[in-house]
């Protein structure tokens, strides 16, 4: 019985791994092909099936004037927008979450849970509903087609995630910890940054990771709120797909755009599994 279970378990895991990894291998293989190797017949293994070339990768860093597609600038644009928006979202979101977790707010019929729901409700709406208001808003304040405008919009998208995760985290930090800090001579601000914050690193990392992922993969707002001045990576990658699809450079750019997320996932996984974060608080 136990053996059958183990067998089934590993079979399932193997199939799932193949299902996940195969497209990556396919993309890696494709990124080293040229027009001939993609279009003539089905080929898999470099050197054996086809002659590998770095052309697909080289195009990505060449300037358009020299026949390249230059994804370097969109790449750094994406990094700047994602990191800035994530950082601001985490700072504001953590402060908001702490207040919502520890203090009681009353304004008419509005209570803490209503405020928390207000934040989360921003994510319940389909993004398309927000597209026209955002467009008008950014065009009114003159931030359409600019990095700053995108940062503003992404904060709106990412802060609810930070608030949601951090409220849940703070609710599990015993209130007695803050109280002990107060009794030990901290004023409420000191209690927050000397005691609560250092013990919230696991929550901050998880919230930060989610913000980065959601910010990095957004295509919709990056697409409708930018035109010519700035471009973010997802839009640029899709734009590669013209009348003749350059599968080789498309694969290469797809691979380097998921690379940061893979690194984030591995680092966090390592960090969490070391155990120095999980279980810091009972």
């Amino acid at each position: 019985m136990h053996k059958i279970y183990t067998f089934l378990k590993y079979t399932f895991i193997t199939l799932w791994t193949v299902f996940i990894v195969a497209p990556f291998l396919w993309a890696i293989s494709t990124s080293f092909k040229d027009f001939q190797s993609v279009n003539s017949k089905v080929t898999y293994i470099p050197w054996l099936d086809f002659e590998p070339t770095l052309e697909g990768w080289r195009v990505l860093v060449k300037s358009p004037a020299r026949g390249g597609v230059d994804i370097v600038e969109p790449y750094f644009n994406s990094i700047f927008v994602t990191c800035t928006a994530s950082l601001i979202s985490i700072i504001l979101g953590t402060l908001a979450a702490y207040a919502l977790s520890r203090f009681t707010f009353k304004a008419g019929f509005v209570r803490n849970n209503d405020i928390t729901f207000f934040f989360i409700s921003q994510r319940i709406m389909p993004p398309i509903v927000l597209s026209i208001p955002f467009f008008i808003f950014l065009s009114t304040i003159g931030l359409l087609d600019s990095l700053l405008g995108l940062v503003v919009v992404y904060i709106v998208l990412l802060m609810p995630i930070a608030v949601w995760i951090m409220v849940d985290f703070f609710n599990r930090v015993p209130k007695e910890l803050d109280e002990t800090a107060l009794i030990d001579g901290c004023n409420p601000y000191q209690a927050f940054y000397k005691v609560v914050l250092p013990n919230s690193i696991p929550g901050l990392i998880v919230a930060g990771m989610f913000c980065i992922i959601f910010g990095w993969i957004d295509f919709f707002f990056a697409f409708i709120l930018t035109f010519t001045e700035v471009q973010l990576l997802p839009v640029k990658v899709v734009a590669l797909n013209s009348s003749i699809t350059p599968w080789w450079s498309l694969s290469a750019s797809a691979l380097i755009s998921v690379a940061p997320l893979i690194i984030v996932a591995f680092v966090v996984e390592r960090y969490l599994s070391k155990g120095n974060l999980s279980g810091a608080l009972k």
């Binding site: 002990t180 009794i183 001579g185 901290c186």
Partner: protein, 359 residues
């Protein structure tokens, strides 16, 4: 110069957590707050610490209005029943935390911390992480942090309740030593607990709290000998004092068709209905005694608690050895007739084997 509370009431959402609580705590004394869970003990301590603001009433310390001083400026220390330490700091850093907050000199901090570590028996554990310590050790760290601070008011909120039986016994012993040698004459120590045995052993001034009200104040011995009413008698004994509804006549007590010779000190009572109280330890197994049915037998440590039933009355007897009993079996028990308490129909104490103090 004392810590004085006058008619303190705390009622969030119109539910009384504290109702008209008054007290006068003197420096160098130990006060124990005895009450069941949810009786308002923690609220009481948090009010003194300043974590909660009472709705009405006055609170003053050293002739200053304590209500106007925020928590972080009151010189208090508190140990919670949950083992609360700073998880991101090691043992040493935990203990110096309040001292650094008060900006004491390095040398002073060193002396204070070493003293505190010695008192709680954690020398050599300075660099351990909090998560590596056992529950008892974590609670020692919390206690050391409170002691090192040399606060003028030290609050301990059921500090032993989350520890296992053996450790509790051991720490309770140590507490007595720590309180007698580790504290200055300037400190007011307030200790809350649900455990009457702790109260008796610590032997301080007792405040019996129930549903946010003070039921009785007095020395531990006084509470033991003269519980003011039925509630206090129940709260201040573990297992709770057995209460039997019965009648007193000229030469005997009657309850559940059992007759007991009248204790001499009951002579002056009127012949009428009373609640008779007797401690579980004053009921013994005896073949010549009265027959009861066993409802439950609990073995705790080296003792057996027998839950017995006869008619409408349920009592608990404490047998000082481990014995096996079958449920629904009949046993015979004898009451120690010189240890009966009598409470009148208003549930107030009218006679005790030790004599009633306030008439």
């Amino acid at each position: 110069m004392n810590l004085i509370g006058k008619n303190i009431t705390y009622k969030p959402d119109n539910q009384f957590h504290l109702k008209d609580v008054s007290f006068d705590f003197k420096k160098g004394n130990l006060y124990t707050i005895l009450g069941r869970t949810l009786s308002g003990k923690t609220t009481f301590l948090k009010t003194i610490a300043g974590l909660l603001t009472p709705d009405t009433g006055e609170l003053s310390f050293e002739d200053k209005d304590f209500r106007k001083i925020p928590v972080w400026e009151r010189n208090v220390a508190m140990v919670y029943q949950q083992f609360i330490n700073y998880p991101h700091l090691n043992v040493y850093e935990n203990i110096i935390f309040p001292l650094k907050q008060r900006k004491l000199s390095e040398e002073q901090i060193k002396i204070d911390v070493e003293g505190a570590l010695k008192t709680v028996g954690l020398v050599g554990f300075e660099n351990r992480k909090i998560q590596e310590l056992s529950g008892g050790q974590q609670q020692r760290v919390a206690l050391a942090r409170s002691l090192a601070k040399k606060a003028k008011i030290l609050l301990l909120d059921e500090p032993l309740v989350n520890l296992d039986y053996k450790l509790r016994e051991q720490l309770r012993e140590e507490f007595k030593r720590i309180f007698s040698e580790g504290l200055s004459q300037d400190t007011i120590l307030i200790y809350s607990t649900t455990d009457p045995q702790e109260v008796m052993e610590l032997n301080g001034e007792v405040i019996v709290l129930d549903e946010g009200k003070v039921l009785q104040k007095g020395a531990a011995k006084e509470i033991f000998e003269n519980p003011k009413n039925l509630k206090v008698a129940e709260i201040s004994n573990d297992p709770p004092m057995n209460i039997l509804k019965g009648i007193k006549s000229s030469n005997e007590l009657n309850f559940e068709n059992i007759s007991i010779n009248l204790p001499t000190y009951f002579k002056n009572l009127e012949d009428q209905n009373y609640y008779f109280g007797i401690r579980a330890s004053e009921i013994k197994l005896d073949n010549k005694g009265e027959e009861f049915e066993i409802e439950l037998a609990e073995i705790s440590g080296s003792e057996t608690l027998l839950h017995l039933k006869r008619g409408d009355s349920k009592i608990i007897a404490l047998i000082e050895e481990v014995m096996n009993f079958k449920i629904h079996e009949k046993v015979k028990v004898k009451f120690n007739e010189n240890k009966f308490y009598a409470f009148n129909n208003n549930e107030e104490l009218v006679s005790s084997p030790y004599g009633v103090l306030n008439g």
